[in-house]
Subunit: 124 residues, 3 copies
């Protein structure tokens, strides 16, 4: 079993992921105020719905991300898993802002993420 | 690495959290029957939508809660993390019932939660 | 604390669960294309909404599933927890396809899942 100090990288990426989710949630709160969409309503102008869906998508993938991060980190390589985790969080950040601006933005940024991962693999 | 019996507190809070989520899910099922909103529809009278959104919000935060509970418990203090976890679950319970009654209820209960945390910190 | 090789069963079920979630997400993407429902919209013909809700429900329960799988596996029995996890994943697969076909399908398949669990307990 890995020692606790070996898991510090995974724990750091985990905390960063939690902070990112908190940031996305705040953006939804700001969008609710900006476009006057009070809870429990989730329908509104497309600008609001894009922010809302971007956050919902990121939230849906958050438990999968944490699960894969720790399973890969504990059973394979902590370092590689932490680095891929950081790239994922960066990709989600770009995805969120791309999606907030336009529905097409979320697709292009997935391509962008693939390029980042590709470049990272070139470096390895 | 912490021993298994040191993690019993975290595991107990985890099980309690799972039971709470099951309870919230049951409330949505009851609300679907009461207000005749059959799946897959999620739109309905505001009374139903508040229960639905309250459950959706709690579900969205559940993985974040579990992640923070275990990360803080393993890397910092198991006792403090378990106690904060219990307060969080109590806060979610109040939030759920407040939100079910009125959309404003969810806000006041967040303030209420802060007061509980504040009082708890006074005791420490 | 359990050794890493004792947790391999739990990890395998976890990876299978992640792949199943990826499969469900792909079905939503296909349904979006088939019924021409572009993001961020989530409302559409009932055929689309059933696939969308089936995936949303499975995603909502995924963190609860992972939490229960590992808590039961680490603190009680890894073997029993892994087997129940596999049954759960099979049940979710049936649920998803039942729900995609009709809203009633999801209910009957829950009964179906209970029968599978019942038969499994008979075998034990």
């Amino acid at each position: 079993m890995m020692m606790m100090d070996q898991a510090v990288g995974l724990a750091a990426v985990t905390v960063l992921g939690v902070l990112e989710q908190a940031y996305f949630s705040l953006q939804v709160i700001y969008a609710r105020r900006k476009y006057s969409v009070s809870p429990p309503t989730t329908a509104g102008p497309p600008e609001f719905e894009r922010v809302f869906r971007a956050q919902a998508n990121c939230s849906e993938y958050f438990p999968i991300f944490i699960t894969v991060l720790w399973t890969a980190g504990v059973f394979f390589s902590e370092g590689l898993s932490s680095v891929c985790g950081l790239l994922y969080l960066y990709g989600r950040f770009r995805y969120f802002h791309g999606y907030s601006q336009s529905a097409q933005g979320r697709v292009y940024l997935n391509v962008d993420l693939l390029q980042v991962v590709g470049s990272a693999l070139d470096l390895v």
